[in-house]
């Protein structure tokens, strides 16, 4: 298995936002975490990536305990994330955004006197082409559309060559066309680049359209886990999503 959490718990005061979560991400996966608002999905992501410290439990990535490591160390181990609200470098161009993360991965960020401008051009453009952002390489990131921003952040993450990519609501706020393109991009990354993606998502069409496995969270706990068809038929899940077509 690629990643495993054991009894992972995070509380805010008396609210147990993540409550003893056991989750396994198998290799070659496109794994969705779903659940109603407040189910603890985002907190789970934050604890997983070291953004928030876990209260108890552990996170094992490729047989190594990464539970209390800081975000920058976890990112270098191969677990890289994108945020629900695209978090990019505003004043950089699209090119520079992706280049910054490749510079980091290749350990060049302590180079004090070289000119960054021309560095790692091919590596950066290759990622931009994968994302379909190559023609906007010189556009300032602050001027991008919402959908492009979210793709750009995936590009920043890809610059780190992660083994596990965590996407928090990758299609949130997107138009139907953008959503379809984003879902296709995720499938492409898994199929062509051997990437593993763990993502949270509200859009059930996306989830059941592309996910190979699904974990359902409710009030901080995992209530169901399995293949899309199994999850769809699960009675607990139907109760939680009462009235919604799954």
């Amino acid at each position: 298995m690629l990643l495993r959490t054991q009894a992972l718990t995070k509380a805010f005061g008396s609210l147990r936002a993540v409550d003893g979560v056991d989750l396994v991400v198998q290799p070659a996966s496109l794994h969705a975490i779903i659940g109603p608002n407040g189910a603890g999905k985002s907190t789970f992501f934050n604890v997983l990536t070291g953004f928030l410290p876990a209260d108890s439990g552990s996170v094992i990535f490729k047989d190594q305990d990464i539970t209390r490591l800081p975000p920058h160390v976890i990112s270098r181990r191969g677990v890289v994330r994108a945020f629900q609200r695209a978090n990019i470098f505003q004043t950089f161009t699209v090119f520079e955004n992706v280049q910054a993360s490749i510079l980091s991965r290749k350990g060049k960020t302590w180079n004090l006197f070289g000119l960054a401008a021309g560095m790692l051009r091919e590596d950066t453009l290759r990622i931009l082409e994968t994302l379909g952002l190559a023609d906007q390489a010189d556009v300032r990131a602050g001027h991008l559309s919402h959908g492009d921003l979210k793709r750009l952040e995936i590009g920043i993450a890809l610059g780190m060559e992660p083994e596990l990519l965590l996407l928090d609501e990758p299609t949130a706020g997107m138009s139907p066309e953008e959503t379809a393109a984003q879902a296709a991009l995720m499938q492409k990354l898994v199929a062509e680049q051997g990437l593993n993606i763990l993502f949270t998502e509200h859009d059930m069409e996306v989830v059941f359209g592309i996910a190979k496995s699904i974990t359902v969270m409710h009030q901080g706990r995992v209530i169901a886990d399995g293949r899309p068809n199994e999850v769809r038929r699960d009675r607990h899940v139907q109760a939680v999503y009462l009235g919604e077509e799954l």
Partner: protein, 328 residues
């Protein structure tokens, strides 16, 4: 003309004027020019932190003062020659920045700013009160540059070379992968952490580099002024680079230099006419902040961009009109 080519011409013109200045200007003007150069370096080192890393320090005078005092003490107490004394001043400034910075970069935002101020005030009281070492509030007098630099024109060229080289180094640093990473952390600390960067470490490095260049500015000032006093370490001195940078334009590389030039010149001129020069400086700064939020250089760049954009639009419209005409 592209903006980079235009700025290259500006740079060449500036270099020519700077090199020729002592040939046609009065000694008092050359004297002011030396001050401008020193303050420009001081303000630029500040802006490495401010615009470069998004860190506002209110205590940068500390490193300027440590540089000035280290050079002054070494030259007067043990008779060290000026060049090694300047080098030692930079090392000392870097070490002090390393120690203080170690604590400061643990904080962010306004807490960072306040802690830098606190450390600077601490240093100020040390310099002001230890009469045996630093002469207390009397400071240190009679700091003599080597004989060949006593003439104001010679000291000017010496300062020009030192500051010019430092500015070139700062330019390289800001455009290097390291500088990029600092900029990245300014735009988004969280995103930068999540591309594997230990942001604190980069901030500390920037803090030390800024401290080293500020100490060099201070070390250039001491033999030029022939004396140092505790006010060089004071919070008033710390406010100089902040005001100069804001006035000149923090978001541009040359902004602090423009700010230092305008600020220092105004000061020299105003002080000859009125004892209320602080009031005048305050008013000018107020106007600057209110009406030129990007600073002088930021304003000029924005305007030239707008003019260029307008010209482009006119040209495309003209082309569109002519192609329409030919279609008819």
């Amino acid at each position: 003309m592209s903006s980079s080519r235009r700025s290259r011409w500006w740079l060449i013109a500036l270099a020519v004027v700077a090199l020729a200045l002592p040939q046609f200007a009065e000694p008092i003007v050359v004297h002011t020019a030396i001050e401008i150069l020193i303050m420009a370096l001081f303000a630029m080192s500040f802006n490495l932190l401010f615009d470069g890393a998004g860190l506002l320090t209110f205590g940068h005078g500390c490193y300027y003062g440590v540089g000035a005092y280290t050079a002054a003490l070494l030259m007067t107490e043990i008779g060290m020659p000026m060049f090694p004394a300047m080098f030692a001043a930079m090392v000392m400034g870097g070490l002090v920045a390393l120690v203080f910075g170690f604590f400061c970069v643990r904080l962010t935002g306004v807490y960072f700013s306040i802690l830098t101020l606190a450390f600077a005030q601490l240093m100020f009281s040390v310099f002001q009160q230890s009469y045996t070492l630093t002469g207390g509030d009397l400071g240190i007098l009679d700091i003599q540059p080597p004989a060949f630099l006593v003439a104001v024109n010679n000291y000017y060229y010496f300062t020009l070379v030192m500051v010019g080289f430092s500015i070139w180094l700062l330019w390289r640093i800001l455009h290097s992968p390291f500088g990029r990473t600092l900029h990245a952390s300014r735009d988004s600390v969280v995103r930068t952490q999540f591309i594997g960067i230990n942001v604190r470490r980069y901030r500390l490095a920037a803090f030390v580099i800024a401290g080293v260049f500020a100490s060099l500015a201070g070390a250039l000032f001491a033999p030029f002024n022939r004396a140092v006093a505790p006010f060089l370490v004071s919070w008033v001195k710390s406010s100089d680079p902040v005001l100069m940078t804001l006035l000149g334009g923090a978001g541009t590389f040359w902004g602090p230099v423009v700010g230092a030039a305008v600020f220092t010149t105004l000061h020299e001129v105003a002080i000859g006419y009125t004892t209320y020069w602080l009031l005048l400086m305050g008013s000018i700064l107020l106007v600057g902040v209110l009406f030129l939020p990007g600073g002088i250089l930021g304003f000029l760049e924005e305007r030239s961009r707008r003019v260029a954009a307008a010209r482009r639009t006119r040209m495309t419209e003209a082309r569109g009109a002519s192609s329409n005409a030919s279609a008819d």
